[in-house]
């Protein structure tokens, strides 16, 4: 007989094997949980057996549920039923696509940007974007939880500002005129927000409609990070104020809109 466990004792009680066979009794006497089941002539064990044996709940109608399953047709139903690794790769591909849009209109000082710093920044966007995507879908369970949700969301706001360190001799200086500052920030914010649309759409298509509501915040973080990765390739403005107001707020605004929509549901 394999090693005796609490499940063996439970199953023996359910089968009415009282007194227990010696091997089970030895386990039960040494086990804090099982000994409670057997105390007072196994009163608790018998009561739980009576409870678990009576499963006379009226059966749920299959027809009602079948109708729900029959509604699961079309491209979205097909896409979101793909295995988790596939769903994750689709999200990563959408992230890469949005980032690549920044390559279409490269920043004016791109040739002078230190490759190591730029690469490091893009790698950070990709890493935290991937972490946020794993939480947004959600996929992979425990491995995706090795980095806390708060760290991912903080990174989504903090890394865009870190782009201030990637500057060159020709990087634009902070705008002295507040009207110019607002115009430049708005220009990047609106362009970046447009860039999030494909990713938001893909995440919506992949969403299975269950999971913690925080997955919406993580979805906003993914889209915000992708837009910021693209803007890092596109915008030559190295002012920290511009990066915070015009770039980092994209994910924040998206999260606020998603939060409002969720509250209304």
């Amino acid at each position: 007989m394999s090693e005796v466990s609490c499940e063996h004792v439970r199953d023996a009680l359910r089968l009415g094997q009282i007194p227990l066979p010696p091997a089970l009794l030895a386990h039960a006497e040494a086990c804090g949980e099982c000994s409670l089941l057997l105390a007072d002539d196994a009163a608790l064990g018998k009561a739980l057996t009576a409870e678990s044996g009576a499963l006379e709940t009226e059966a749920l109608p299959w027809a009602g549920f079948e109708a729900l399953v029959n509604e699961e047709v079309g491209f979205r139903a097909w896409l979101r039923s793909r295995p988790n690794p596939v769903r994750f790769l689709v999200a990563v591909a959408a992230f890469a696509l949005v980032t690549a849009l920044g390559l279409r209109h490269l920043r004016s000082d791109f040739a002078l940007v230190p490759a190591l710093e730029l690469g490091g920044l893009l790698a950070a966007f990709a890493f935290f974007g991937g972490m946020a995507a794993a939480r947004a879908l959600p996929v992979f369970g425990a491995p995706a939880k090795r980095i806390s949700s708060e760290a991912i969301l903080a990174a989504a706001l903090g890394i865009p500002a870190a782009a201030a360190f990637v500057r060159t001799a020709t990087t634009l200086a902070p705008a002295a005129d507040s009207a110019v500052f607002v115009r430049q920030a708005w220009s990047c914010f609106s362009y970046g927000s447009l860039l999030t649309i494909p990713l938001v759409l893909v995440l919506w298509l992949l969403d299975r409609g269950a999971g913690p509501r925080s997955r919406v915040l993580h979805g906003a973080a993914v889209a915000g990070l992708a837009a910021n990765a693209a803007l890092t390739l596109h915008c030559p403005n190295g002012s920290a104020a511009h990066l915070v107001v015009g770039h980092a707020t994209i994910g924040l605004a998206l999260a606020a809109v998603a939060g409002l929509l969720l509250r209304r549901r």
Binding site: E7, L36, E51, L60, G209, P212
Partner: protein, 181 residues
Amino acid sequence: MAAYVAGDRGAFRELFERYAAPLERLLVRDLGQREEARDLVQQTFLQLHRARLDFDPSKRLKPWLYTIAMNLKRELFRRRKRRPERSDAEAAERKPVEPRGQQQTEARRSLDWALERIPSDQREVIELHWLAELSFPELAATIGISVAAAKVRAHRGYVRLRELLGEAGAPSGNPTPGGAL
């Protein structure tokens, strides 16, 4: 489940008919309303359908199914900002879920009454162990705690249940299941 993934649509009906009723019974005690429990059972199976290609045939289906159900239940509580615990007064006021077509035995009625009165985290472990027939490692994974923590919850729950069943069986003047209901 493997048959359903392979394209046998009838296999899903078999799964539904085998697991929906026990799952509903488990959920109805926490949720308090049969309709809400039924809705959650349907949502659980809908999620199972959507995630069918993630099924690992080398593992048992039941722990996975219950993991989905417990996550949905937790999310429902979070969304409604409602604590799953009920006070004695709330438990006493709540109409019990009567199984149809059969009379409850006195022992079952007493246990139902006692289960209503133990903390929900302890009740959850005991119900998953006894009603869902999950092992301690399986139920620990289902609710996202360690096996040791699951056993501690079960131990505390058993101790409290014995106390309550003792009260329920005590002479008049003490609380009884019938009186509370």
